[in-house]
Symmetry: C2
Subunit: 430 residues, 2 copies
Amino acid sequence: MSSVTTTPFDDLSPVLRAAYRARSAAAELAVLPRAAKDDALLAVADALEVRTREIVEANAADTDRARAAGASDTVVDRLTLTPERVRAIASDVRDVVALPDPVGEVVRGSTLPNGLELRQLRVPLGVVGIIYEGRPNVTVDAASLCLKAGNAVLLRGSSSAYASNTALVRAVRDAVHGAGLPADSVQLVPGETRESAQELMRARGMVDVLIPRGGAGLIRAVVEQSTVPVIETGTGNCHVYVDEHADLDTALAILVNAKAQRPGVCNAAETVLVHRAVAGEFLPRALAALTGAGVRVHGDEAWQKAGAAAGIEVEPATAEDWETEYLSYDLAAAVVDSLDAAVQHIRLWSSGHTEAIVTRDTAAARRFTATVDSAAVMVNASTRFTDGSQFGFGAEIGISTQKLHARGPMGLPELTSTKYVVTGDGHVRD
Amino acid sequence: MSSVTTTPFDDLSPVLRAAYRARSAAAELAVLPRAAKDDALLAVADALEVRTREIVEANAADTDRARAAGASDTVVDRLTLTPERVRAIASDVRDVVALPDPVGEVVRGSTLPNGLELRQLRVPLGVVGIIYEGRPNVTVDAASLCLKAGNAVLLRGSSSAYASNTALVRAVRDAVHGAGLPADSVQLVPGETRESAQELMRARGMVDVLIPRGGAGLIRAVVEQSTVPVIETGTGNCHVYVDEHADLDTALAILVNAKAQRPGVCNAAETVLVHRAVAGEFLPRALAALTGAGVRVHGDEAWQKAGAAAGIEVEPATAEDWETEYLSYDLAAAVVDSLDAAVQHIRLWSSGHTEAIVTRDTAAARRFTATVDSAAVMVNASTRFTDGSQFGFGAEIGISTQKLHARGPMGLPELTSTKYVVTGDGHVRD
C-alpha cells in the first residue's frame, strides 16, 4: 500500500497532494513540545477574534445561498456565524489550550526479565480526516483538537459552508504558520465534490483515520466506502428503562429530561420501556408530563390504552419507531415484562450509544449495566450526560458508537495512538 | 445497519446465521466471571490431549491433499499437526488460563463535580472474526484468547486445513459446552469459499472486528473489502540503523540476529542502513558476518563496492528491495548520510512494524525514537523482540501495524473494548 507514497508528487491528485503535505506536517507536529502547540492555538483564538468581520462576511455568502435555495431555518441556523458565535469558537480554542497534552504519556511500562526496558508511549495518530456537514464551527473545533494532540487534519466540509470554511481555515493557517508551525497542519480538502470525499476515503496509508460527523446517511456512506480506518460516531437511539423498583418521581424527571431537554442531539432519549408492574401507575403520569413538555408518544397497546383513558393521543408504534432516532419531540414507548425483556429490546434496536435504568434495586442496576452493550449505561441519571464536557474531558471530537479504538465521548487521548520504545544494551534473541 | 438483525433467522445465509449465534453466545460470555472462562479453557486443553489421535488423523487428510497438490515443504510443515504439536497447543491454552482476565478492569474513573460517579470498564469486544491461512494452530490460539477475553469467535480458516480445523473446533466446542458455556462461542465459518469470507467482511453490526492473519495479499484483501472494522496485522519491513556513534560489535550482533535468527517471521529485519561515517569499517565486517550466516545482500553502490573489495557478491538494490518483506535470507542494504536520512528512508518504505537503532549517543537514540513512526522502536536491541511473549503479555493474537485501537503486539486487553457506567441519584441536565 506504499504505492501512493512512491508516486511522484506532481502526478498526485489535489486531494492526495493535500494528504501528502499533511503527512509532512504531521511528522513535524509529532515531536513538538506542548508549549509550541499551545502557543499556536492561542494565536488561532486571537486570529479568529481579530478576523471576525472577514469570517462573518464570508459566512453571509453561504447563508444567502442556502436561503435562496430554500434551506430550512434549522439548516440556516446551523450554518450561521455571528460575531458572538465566532467569539465562542475562539473561547473553545482557549479551553483546548488548557487541557493536558496526551502525547508522551507512558501508558504502560516495565523492565523485562532480560533487562530490556519497555515503554508504551502515547503518540499522535498522524493525519486525521474529518468529513462533516454544514456546521462551520466543526472546522475550528476539529482543527484545534487535532493540533493539540499533534495531528495534522484534513477537513472535508460541506459545499454549503464553503465560503465560511475557507475564511476560517485561512485564519487558522495564518495563525499556525505565524506561530512557527507548518501551515499544512490544517487543510481544507480541495473540491467539495463527491469524488473528493471518495478519494479521501480511499487514501489508506496517507490518512490514518477518518471521523465522519453528521447525519446517519453520511456516516453510513463513509463506513461502507472507506478503506481508511473509520470511527463511527453519533447515531443515538437511546433508551430509558423504568424498572419495577423505580422511584417513579425520579423516573418521570429523568424521562422528561432525557427526551425533551434538547431533543435534537444524539444523547436524547428516543424510547422509554416501562416494567409492567409499575405501568398502571407510571403511564398516566408519564403521558401527562410528556404531553406537557410537547412530546408526541408512539406507543404499544398498553400505552395506547393509557392514552385513551387519559384523553391523550398515542400513535400506534411500529418496528420503525423502535428503530428510529427521531431527533425531535417524538418518543417510542413500550411496556415490558421484565428487566431482561427490556435488555433484549435494547440489544435488538439500540444504536449502542446510551441507555438508562431508573431503579432503587442494586441487583437490577447491576444486571442492567452488565448486560446492556452500549457505550454508556446510566443508573438513575439522564441519558443527556453522555458528553465529553459532562464527563470532564474538556472537549470532544465526537461520540463513538463502535467498539474499536474509542467508545463513547472522544477527547484528546482518543486522538492518539501508541508506540513501544524498547531500550537495551545489545540485546539479541536466543 | 440493524437490517441484518431484523431479518428472520431462517432467511439468513449460513455465515450470517453463524454470526447471529455468535452474538447470542457473546452476550452470555460477556457477564461470566473469570473462573467460568478458565474452567472452560482447562477443559479445552484436556480435550485436545485426550483427542490428539482424532486430530492428527484429520490433519493427515489435509497434509496428504496438500502434498498431492504439490505444496512446498514449508507449506506442508505449517499445516502439519503431530502429537507433540497438539500437546504444545494444549499447553498454550493452559498459559492463557494463567493470564489475568482483562474484563471488568476500571480503566478510568472519577466522581464528577455534580456527584455523578463515572467508571470506564473493560468489556469484551463481542464477536471477533479471524480470517487466516493454512496454520491449524491459529484455530486454537485465537479461540482461547478470544474466549478468555469474553468474546465469541468466528474462525474462517483455509480450505487446505479444513479437516484439521473441523476436528480441532469439534474438540473445543465439546469441551466448552461440557463446561457449561455456549458451544457457539467458537464456530468455524461455514464454507471455505471466497464468498463466505466476503460475507464475513460485510457483516457489519453482527461482527465487531475482523483480524486477518497471514500473508500481505490476504491482509490487503480484507482491508480493502471489509465494512467490519479491521485490525491490520503482521507485515514487517523492519529496519536496523547503524548510527555513526554505534558500537560496531553490538551493531554486528544485532544485525545478524535481527536478519538471520529466524528470517521467516514478521519481526525479522529486511533492511540495514549504515551511517556513512562508519561504513568504511562496518560494511566489510557486516558482509563477512552476514555471508557466514547465509544472508544474501542486495545493496546500494557503497555496499556493492564493499562486496567487490571483499569478493562477496552484492546484488544491486532497486526500489523493490527497499519495499520488500523478504521473509528469507535476503537483506536490503544502504549507506545514509545522516540519522535523519535513515529516518526519511524508514518513513518512506517501512510497514510501520519495528525499527532499531544501534548507537551509544543518547541524543541520537532520543531523536530516532521520537521521529520514527512505527509500532515499536528498539534502541540497541534486535527487532526480533517485538512479540507478545517477549513483551510479557503472555500470548498475542497478532501484531498490529495500524494506529487505531491497537499498535504492536496485541494481548488480551487489545481484545476488549470499554463501556462507561455512570451512577447518579436522579441526576438530570439543566
